[in-house]
Amino acid sequence: MDFVQNFPFMSILLSLFSGPLCSILDGKWAKRVNAIVITTIGGLSVSVLLYVVRTGQAFVYRMGHFPAPWGNEIRVGVLEAFMAAFFCVIMLLCMVSGVREREEQIEESRQNLYYVMANLLLCSLLALIYTNDLFTAYVFVEINTISACGLIMIRQTGRTIEAAIRYMIMSLLGSGLLLLGICHLYAVTGQLLMSNIREQVQLLTAGHQYHITLMVALGLMSVGLAIKSALYPFHAWLPDAYGYATLSSSAILSALVSKGYIFLLIKIFYRVVGFELVMESRVANVLFVFGIIGMIMGSVNAIRTDNLKRMIAYSSVAQIGYIYMGLGLATEAGTVASIYHVLSHAATKSLLFVAAAGLTDASRGEAHFKDITGAAYRNKLAGVAFTAGSLSMVGMPMFSGFISKLFFAQAAVGHTHKMLPTFIALAISTVLNAVYFMKTVIRIYTPVSEGTGRAVSLKEQPAKSAALVCFILLNLILGLNSDPVIRLIQNGLGMFD
């Protein structure tokens, strides 16, 4: 066994143990430890990625060297390693850009607790990406929920606590359904490792046994994870949570947390129940319909709100809708488009949150539309970044958002029933996106007389400016070099079997 194969397990352990470590450090040192841990894990994930690309096949890491039905396993292919590395980059940029907000909004004595939560969140995301065991996945889903709740409520205001409790309620409903689905699957297959369940499921479908139970399990797990990742009717907690939490939290929550659950759902589709079964079941249709409703209703809500941060939060609801629409197409191309959109949305939404924070800094900290008029003149880089993010969301060529829309449309072509609804939804949603994002861009570039805020220069916020530039570059890289990324995703999906 090559030494590199230990890296995924090491990264999970590293982030897990750095959490408690941060709880005994003071705020400054916890911040440093956190940055070092994320960078190290990013480096480890990149080397794992290079290793898997070179060998061309996925590897299984057995914990404690117990063989298959008894031991717990980690399984790493190209897609898993790439996701881990990408999540680390986004997480690091989000943490760096929100330093000043965290120092202002969180009490001095609680600063280190924030990093405990951030490290545990990273740990659970990595475990969700890498694990080959369904019950381990459930446990880390709960750890993810708890640490995300901590990230929301660390800024102690009435709004954030209320948002945290609403988030917990929705998440617990989702994880209850997920657990029940796993139990049903265990009851008919007697296995917990994903690859073993897959074998048993194939035997059961070949023998036409327990078809209803399998469908119920698939439905419960899909709906559970859909609730947890805020698919449209279950999004009520999201605007408050994203809109009032501290900057790094909003950016991390919107970019990473929901994406971890979506990635787990894709793993369940491909590696646990098998995609053939998903195709013939009606679960995909349900996800498709709710995805489309979410795409449109999320944008409609975003148009109606008068608060910049809440608008970006509602736009997240719409984008989650896109991802579920792609999954609901139940084709290989649809899944590829969805995974690409996961990357694209992670890069764009965190960019928008950071840029919005820059704009509100230049408007006396207010996020209301009437206050941010002309803010792009007072904070030039944030204005440019917000425009870039908006163009990407609307789907301008060169940016990543364009590519994902293109792939969604291509994936829908030739689909007998779903082609027309997809095209119509894409068209309506693009127009709606353009309405609210361009409205905001025009507003921040509308000159106003003096007295609505103060100018913020680049030097004043070096961390945020650097992060903004990195986010814009990441967006352009994803948009201009989409071919290698798409090939990597296809390659990774191939390794899922």
């Binding site: 709004r159 606590i161 617990l172 209850g176």
Partner: protein, 125 residues
């Protein structure tokens, strides 16, 4: 429909009914404490279901006391292990929910989530 299956597997049916009760309480109750009770009913129902799946009639818990090592003598221990893990998860989640409830109650002196939302809107922040 095969209603006789429901009677044969009445334990599983009871677990599912309990799950439904817990789920709808967690979703629909306005009172936060009632929501948390619903959460616990829901989780416990899942554990009941899991424990049932591991139980084999006439066999004992897999603890070797009188030298019997045959697999035939014992029940399946894995679901029991899963139940234990699940209990740990639901205890920590319940503790977190209760602490959040205390925070909200100290601020707004009510346990009604809708009332808290209206109060928040009045604050207008």
């Amino acid at each position: 429909m095969h209603f006789e299956y429901l009677l044969q597997n009445y334990e599983e049916a009871a677990a599912m009914i309990l799950f439904g009760i817990g789920f709808s309480n967690l979703l629909l109750q306005k009172n936060l404490i009632r929501k948390i009770i619903g959460l616990n009913i829901m989780d416990t129902a899942t554990y009941l279901f899991l424990a049932l799946k591991g139980y084999i009639e006439g066999r004992k818990a897999p603890v070797v006391v009188d030298g019997v090592t045959s697999v035939e003598a014992y029940i399946n221990p894995i679901p029991s292990g899963l139940v234990l893990t699940g209990i740990v998860v639901s205890v920590s989640v319940t503790a977190l929910m209760l602490s959040l409830t205390i925070r909200l109650y100290r601020r707004y002196h009510t346990l009604d989530l809708d009332e808290i939302s209206t109060l928040l809107k009045k604050e207008g922040k």
